[in-house]
C-alpha cells in the first residue's frame, strides 16, 4: 500500500518512462549518488563530499524523516516536487531549503545529536524548532563554498 502510494506520487510527477530513464528507481535508495542523478543536485553532492559529515551522514539522513512511514511519504511528496521542478524548470534558483524541508532537516540534526544539545532545549525536546541548528552550523552538510549556482538564464530559448 505504502509502496504503491510512493510510486504513484513519483509517477504522477514525471511520467513513468522518463522516470526510469533518469534512473528514478535509484531514487529510493539511500545512496547519495541517487540524488545526484539530477544534475541540479550536483553542487550539493559535490559540496557534501567535502563536508564534515561526508563520513557521518548521507543525503537522506539529513533530508528525509528518519521514521520509516513518514520517510516514504516525504519521498513521494518531495519526489513529486522534484520531478515537477525538474521538468518544468520553474523553481527558484539557487535552490534554498525552506518550509517543511527545513523542519525535517532540523529534526534530523537533533535525532543524531540529542546528547549534545539537550541542554539547549533545557532538556525539553518537545519543540525541536525553537533552536535552529543551521543558524550557527549552516556549513555542516555542504561546507563553506556556495552550495549552488545561480539561476537559469530566463532570456535564452531552451
Amino acid at each position: 500500500m505504502i509502496t504503491l502510494a510512493v510510486l504513484l506520487g513519483v509517477a504522477v510527477g514525471t511520467g513513468a518512462y522518463t522516470f526510469r530513464y533518469a534512473e528514478g528507481f535509484s531514487y529510493f535508495s539511500t545512496d547519495p549518488a541517487a540524488c545526484a542523478n539530477c544534475h541540479i543536485m550536483t553542487p550539493q553532492y559535490d559540496s557534501w563530499q567535502k563536508s564534515s559529515h561526508h563520513g557521518a551522514a548521507t543525503c537522506v539522513d539529513c533530508h528525509l524523516p528518519h521514521r520509516f512511514i513518514s520517510k516514504y511519504l516525504a519521498k513521494a511528496d518531495n519526489g513529486y516536487h522534484h520531478s515537477k521542478g525538474f521538468t518544468l524548470q520553474d523553481f527558484h534558483e539557487p535552490i534554498m531549503i525552506k518550509g517543511k524541508n527545513r523542519d525535517i532537516l532540523q529534526k534530523n540534526c537533533i535525532e543524531c545529536h540529542d546528547d549534545m544539545v539537550h541542554e539547549l532545549f533545557r532538556r525539553d525536546m518537545t519543540k525541536p524548532d525553537v533552536v535552529s541548528c543551521v543558524h550557527c552550523h549552516a556549513s555542516v552538510g555542504h561546507g563553506e563554498l556556495p552550495t549552488s549556482i545561480g539561476g537559469r538564464d530566463e532570456n535564452w530559448s531552451d
Binding site: 540529542d114 541542554e119 533545557r122 532538556r123 533552536v131 535552529s132 543558524h135 550557527c136 563553506e144
Partner: protein, 447 residues
C-alpha cells in the same frame, strides 16, 4: 556507562531535577548554582581579569584604568557632569554593584534609578510597589541612591545581575524582568519605526494592538537572547527628574533617540538636558552604552545573530553543550564566539575586528579634536564678549556633536556592533562640531 545512559534518559523525562527550590525571591546565584552548577561555574568567572585592545577590564587586581587617561579630550567634553569626575572602564558582571557603590560619581547626589541595572532589584521593586514592580521602580527615582542601595542590602538582595533576572525559576526560560526595558520595547513596538532586527514586533504590529507588545510572550527565542542584555546595555535617563526611561518612542536609530530627548521637557517646560557644559554652557545630552541600539543597526542583527551568540556562546561540557555564562569579550573566545559561523582562521577574524575598530577609533579621535576646536572657538567668542544668546547656534551644534561622539565613545564595541553605522555617526559628529566652530568663530569676529 549504564548509569550514564540511564541518567540521561531520566534527565530527558524530567527536565531539571532540582536539588534546591528557587523562586522569584531567590536572588543569590549560589543557591541556583546547586541546581545548575555548570552555568554557575562559568558565571562566577565574570570576576576574572580580561583585557583586549579596546575592551575587557583589568579585573580584580586594580581599579580599572581610567578611560580619561586614554582620551584626554573626554574630560573636557564632560566638564559639568559627574562623568568628568570618574569615568572608568567597565568590568565583568561580578563587579557591577561594587563598582557602582564605589564610583566617585557618588559625590554628586544620585537617584535610586541607578540600581535598575546594577543589582538584583526585582524583589525590592515589588516591595516598593506593593507587588507591582513597575510601580515600585517609579518610586526609586525619588529616593536617593544611598537609601535605595541600603534597602537592597537590608533585604538581602545585594547581588550583581543574577539568575532570576534572566530566567523564569519554574521553566528556566530566558525572560526579561526589568520595567525600564519592557516599557521601552513597548514604546518601540507602538511606534511605526522600522525594526528589521526584531521581526516579532512586525508580527505584533499586524495584529490588533489591543494588548501591548509583551517580549516574554511575543518575542522569539532568538530575540530573547538579545533582550536579556537589552535590559541594561542601552541608552537611558536615570536621574531624579522622572522615572528611568529608555528613549525608543521614535525608533532605535541614533537620530530617533536624539529626537525623543529633544522633545522631552523638564517640569518647568524647558528643553531636556543631562548637564550644562561647564565651559560653554551648552545643554548637553549624555549617552550611556547603547550596545543594543547600535547592534540593531548592523548586519549581524539583521541576520538574527544575538548578543548571546557572541557573548555567551555554547561550550562543550562533557557530552553536552551549555551556554557560557562567563559573559565577556568574544575576542577572548573567538573559536566558539565566531568560528561556528565564520570558518576562517582566528588570526584573520581578529584582524577583521581590529580593522573595523581602528577605523572607528581614529574617527573618534578626529571627532574629539573637532569638538575641542569648537570649545576653543566658543571660549574665544566669550572672551570677545559674545552672549549665550549669540552663541546659541554654536552651542546647539555642540549638543548635537557631543551626542554623536558620545554615542560611539560610550558604546562598548568601538563600533564593531555596526561598523558602517558607527563611522556614519562619527562622521556627523566631526562635521557638526566643525560647523559649531565656524559658528562660534563668526560670532567672535563680529565682536
Amino acid at each position: 556507562l549504564l548509569i550514564n545512559v540511564f541518567e540521561r534518559k531520566r534527565e530527558a523525562e524530567n527536565p531539571y531535577v532540582r536539588l534546591v527550590e528557587v523562586t522569584e525571591d531567590t536572588t543569590d546565584p549560589e543557591v541556583w548554582g546547586k541546581n545548575w552548577p555548570r552555568q554557575y561555574d562559568s558565571y562566577k568567572r565574570t570576576a576574572l581579569t580580561t583585557r583586549t585592545r579596546f575592551g575587557g577590564h583589568g579585573g580584580s587586581e586594580a581599579l580599572p584604568e581610567e578611560k580619561i587617561e586614554r582620551d584626554p579630550w573626554l574630560k573636557r567634553m564632560f566638564l559639568g557632569y559627574a562623568f568628568s569626575i570618574d569615568y572608568r572602564d567597565r568590568r565583568g558582571h561580578a563587579y557591577m554593584l561594587e563598582d557602582q557603590e564605589q564610583t566617585k560619581r557618588q559625590n554628586v547626589p544620585l537617584s535610586g534609578s541607578c540600581l535598575h541595572c546594577h543589582g538584583s532589584v526585582m524583589p525590592l521593586y515589588r516591595e516598593l510597589g506593593d507587588g507591582d514592580a513597575f510601580k515600585g521602580m517609579d518610586e526609586t527615582h525619588k529616593i536617593s541612591y544611598k537609601e535605595t542601595n541600603k534597602m537592597l542590602h537590608d533585604m538581602g538582595h545585594a547581588h550583581p545581575v543574577s539568575c532570576v533576572d534572566c530566567h523564569d525559576p519554574e521553566s528556566m526560560q530566558v525572560r526579561v524582568t526589568r520595567p525600564g526595558f519592557i516599557r521601552g520595547i513597548q514604546d518601540l513596538a507602538a511606534s511605526d519605526a522600522p525594526v528589521p532586527a526584531i521581526p516579532s514586533i512586525d508580527i505584533w504590529r499586524q495584529g490588533s494592538r489591543s494588548t501591548p507588545y509583551d517580549p516574554n510572550v511575543d518575542a522569539t527565542r532568538g530575540e530573547m537572547r538579545s533582550f536579556a542584555c537589552a535590559q541594561c546595555h542601552v541608552e537611558y535617563y536615570c536621574a531624579g527628574g522622572f522615572p528611568l526611561t529608555f528613549p525608543w518612542k521614535n525608533g532605535l536609530k541614533m537620530e530617533d533617540l536624539e529626537k525623543q530627548w529633544d522633545e522631552t521637557t523638564m517640569k518647568d517646560g524647558s528643553r531636556f538636558y543631562d548637564y550644562k557644559h561647564k565651559e560653554s554652557g551648552a545643554e548637553i545630552l549624555k549617552v550611556q552604552h547603547p550596545e543594543f541600539e547600535l547592534w540593531s543597526q548592523g548586519v549581524h542583527a539583521r541576520s538574527g545573530v544575538s548578543c548571546s551568540d557572541c557573548h555567551m556562546p555554547y561550550m562543550r561540557d562533557g557530552a553536552s553543550k551549555v551556554s557560557d555564562h562567563w559573559v565577556r569579550s568574544p575576542l577572548l573566545n573567538v573559536n566558539r564566539a565566531c568560528q561556528t559561523c565564520h570558518h576562517v582562521s582566528e588570526k584573520e577574524l581578529l584582524a577583521r575586528v581590529d580593522s573595523i575598530q581602528t577605523k572607528n577609533f581614529n574617527l573618534l579621535q578626529a571627532g574629539g579634536a573637532a569638538l575641542m576646536d569648537l570649545l576653543d572657538a566658543v571660549a574665544e567668542a566669550k572672551q570677545a564678549g559674545a552672549t549665550q544668546e549669540q552663541l546659541k547656534p554654536a552651542l546647539d551644534l555642540q549638543r548635537k556633536a557631543q551626542w554623536r561622539l558620545d554615542y560611539i565613545a560610550a558604546e562598548n564595541s568601538m563600533g564593531f556592533h555596526a561598523p558602517q553605522e558607527a563611522a556614519r555617526i562619527l562622521a556627523e559628529a566631526a562635521d557638526l562640531a566643525r560647523q559649531g566652530q565656524v559658528a562660534a568663530l563668526k560670532v567672535a569676529h563680529q565682536m
